[in-house]
């Protein structure tokens, strides 16, 4: 008989996961990192077939083929601009799988109390993760309103649902009381809580939410690992839980808000009444914008979600090349929470072929704005709002890109609306700011044409 191969292989799997994750944290080695992790995963899946007492092998293979091919094909076909919702939905699938595993484990009823308790926790977190991720997916896909969905008494309803879910979860631990009839309401309540808690979270807070659910799925997987006594799941799940929590904190910090504020405050649901803004919004025509750019010594581009919506990244890259051919250096200022997932702008610009050494983090580039002739703000709003520097504003304390300190600011904007926060942007009224109205892709295209004429 074969010795138990799976545990030694799981150890190798975990080692490769850690090496892979580590390599993924440096730009030069990142690509090899995912290959390491991928190889580790393939090993773990193959060796699991050797687990003692396995049957239903055909069903397992059919399941892997179905899920695997759907995941692969969808991920290969989806447009880069749709990446945030893809990440959200795949993460939700992991949470769902964790919930389902815990459900089977609880149905077996042979488990001791401590391991049932872990399974219940895994089930609850996994269910919240899949439900929340699906709502995030719907919002990002545009199949549901991106603005926070609120109603009176929302927080009370949410807390009641959460408490009810916990109560049923505790009942599951003592099956002699009510039997397994408590399982179904428990899962319904947990899924319901996931949906309810995600409804009031708006689109611009999605970078925090996506990475939070990523961390939650990791924790749910680790809990299942405890219940199944599977160390590969314990370690991999905990790794992701920790890494994901750190990323979530980084994202929240980039907005100077707590995780609790992001999750429970329905930020952006109300429009703030603006006071004390002087000046007017001054429109600019594409030819004038082109002239400004052509005679600039340096240009910084600050992109936001609007660039993603308009799919303007290719045109932006074209504009960058054109300016550089005229000897004008172009840099990109990337705010950590610009867009709908962590690092969203970096991904889009990389897709368009902008080398990543032109992309600068907020801290790296803020000092450059005062010496910059022209800043192009493309579809960004709250992350460049100087109101954040003023106490009393809803954005107060949020670290922003100091674009208003540049000599000239051109804001590409669809209309005169406010940002996601619902706060009027003082930048748009400043003396050195001009607004170029229209779809970002078209606007950049027009500027390119005008530049070529000069």
């Amino acid at each position: 008989m074969l010795p138990d191969l799976y545990d030694p292989v799981y150890i190798i799997t975990i080692l490769f996961f850690i090496v892979g994750l580590h390599r993924m944290s440096h730009p030069k080695t990142a690509r090899s990192g995912i290959v390491w992790a991928g190889g580790a995963m393939a090993l773990a899946v193959v060796v699991t077939f050797l687990y003692p007492g396995m049957h239903n092998l055909i069903l397992i293979i059919v399941g892997i083929v179905i899920g695997g091919s759907i995941g692969w094909i969808a991920a290969k076909r989806v447009a880069m601009t749709d990446m945030p919702q893809m990440v959200a939905i795949y993460n939700g699938m992991g949470g769902g799988a964790a919930g389902a595993i815990a459900a089977v484990e609880l149905l077996k009823s042979t488990a001791v109390l401590s391991s049932s308790a872990l399974a219940v926790t895994g089930a609850a977190i996994g269910s919240v993760s899949i439900a929340g991720s699906v709502i995030a997916f719907l919002k990002l896909q545009g199949w549901m309103r991106q603005k926070p969905i609120t109603y009176p008494g929302q927080q009370v309803v949410n807390i009641v649902v959460l408490l009810a879910a916990i109560a049923f979860g505790v009942l599951i631990l003592f099956p002699h009381v009510l039997g397994f009839s408590t399982l179904l309401p428990f899962f319904v309540l947990a899924v319901g809580y996931g949906i309810l808690m995600t409804l009031p979270i708006g689109g611009a807070d999605m970078p925090v939410v996506i990475s939070l659910y990523n961390a939650l799925t990791g924790i749910a997987v680790a809990m299942d690992g405890f219940a199944l006594e599977n160390f590969a799941m314990v370690v991999a799940g905990t790794l992701v839980g920790a890494a994901g929590s750190l990323l979530t904190l980084l994202m929240a910090r980039a907005m100077n808000r707590s995780i609790g504020n992001v999750l429970f405050s329905a930020f952006g649901a109300k429009e703030e009444v603006t006071t004390g803004i002087t000046g007017t919004m001054k429109p600019i025509q594409p030819q004038d914008a082109a002239v400004l750019l052509a005679y600039a010594n340096s240009v910084i581009i600050a992109p936001g979600y609007g660039m993603a919506v308009a799919q303007a990244q290719q045109k932006v890259k074209e504009l960058t090349d054109l300016l550089e051919s005229k000897g004008i250096p172009v840099k990109f200022a990337i705010h950590p929470v610009a867009g709908r997932m962590p690092g969203h702008m970096n991904v889009l610009l990389a897709e368009a072929g902008v080398p990543y050494d032109r992309l600068f983090d907020r801290d790296e580039i803020n000092a450059d704005f005062p010496n910059t002739d022209v800043v192009l703000v493309i579809g960004a709003n709250d992350v460049v709002n100087p109101a954040a520097r003023r106490a009393g504003s809803a954005l107060a304390g949020m670290p922003i890109l100091d674009v208003d300190k540049a000599k000239n600011v051109i804001v590409l904007k669809r209309g005169q609306g406010k940002g996601f926060s619902g706060i009027e942007n003082e930048l748009f009224y400043a003396d050195n700011t001009k607004l170029l109205y229209g779809d970002a892709q078209e606007s950049v295209g027009k500027v390119i044409q005008e530049l070529k004429k000069l």
Binding site: I34, M41, A100, I101, V104, T217, N346
Partner: protein, 99 residues
């Protein structure tokens, strides 16, 4: 004899620290691939789904186990493909600079 549960908790503690430490100084440019890569790594849940389905005896356990395997597999391949696509683009950007 120390129970397996406590051993697991010790291991999880170390794993949590490792996860935190490995990505502490990650540059912003890699936030998306890192998130999507860790998304892929929790696809290890597929292994759990396989074990549940493999050891399932009743039709209900089989059905739920099967769902777990399908979802886990989706998580694995989708997470991998998304991460690879993103990282490929970063490489493309780097090589163009060299031209």
């Amino acid at each position: 004899m120390i129970s397996i549960l406590y051993i697991s908790i010790y291991i999880a503690l170390l794993a949590a620290f490792t996860g935190y430490e490995v990505i502490t100084r990650v540059p912003v440019i890699l936030h998306t691939p890192l998130m999507s890569g860790s998304n892929f790594i929790h696809g290890i849940v597929l292994v759990g789904g396989m074990i549940e389905l493999g050891l399932a005896t009743t039709p209900l356990e089989q059905a739920i186990g099967f769902i777990a395997v399908v979802m886990g597999a989706l998580n694995v391949t989708g997470g991998y493909a998304v991460t690879e696509r993103i990282l490929q683009m970063f490489e493309k950007g780097k090589s163009r600079k060299g031209n």
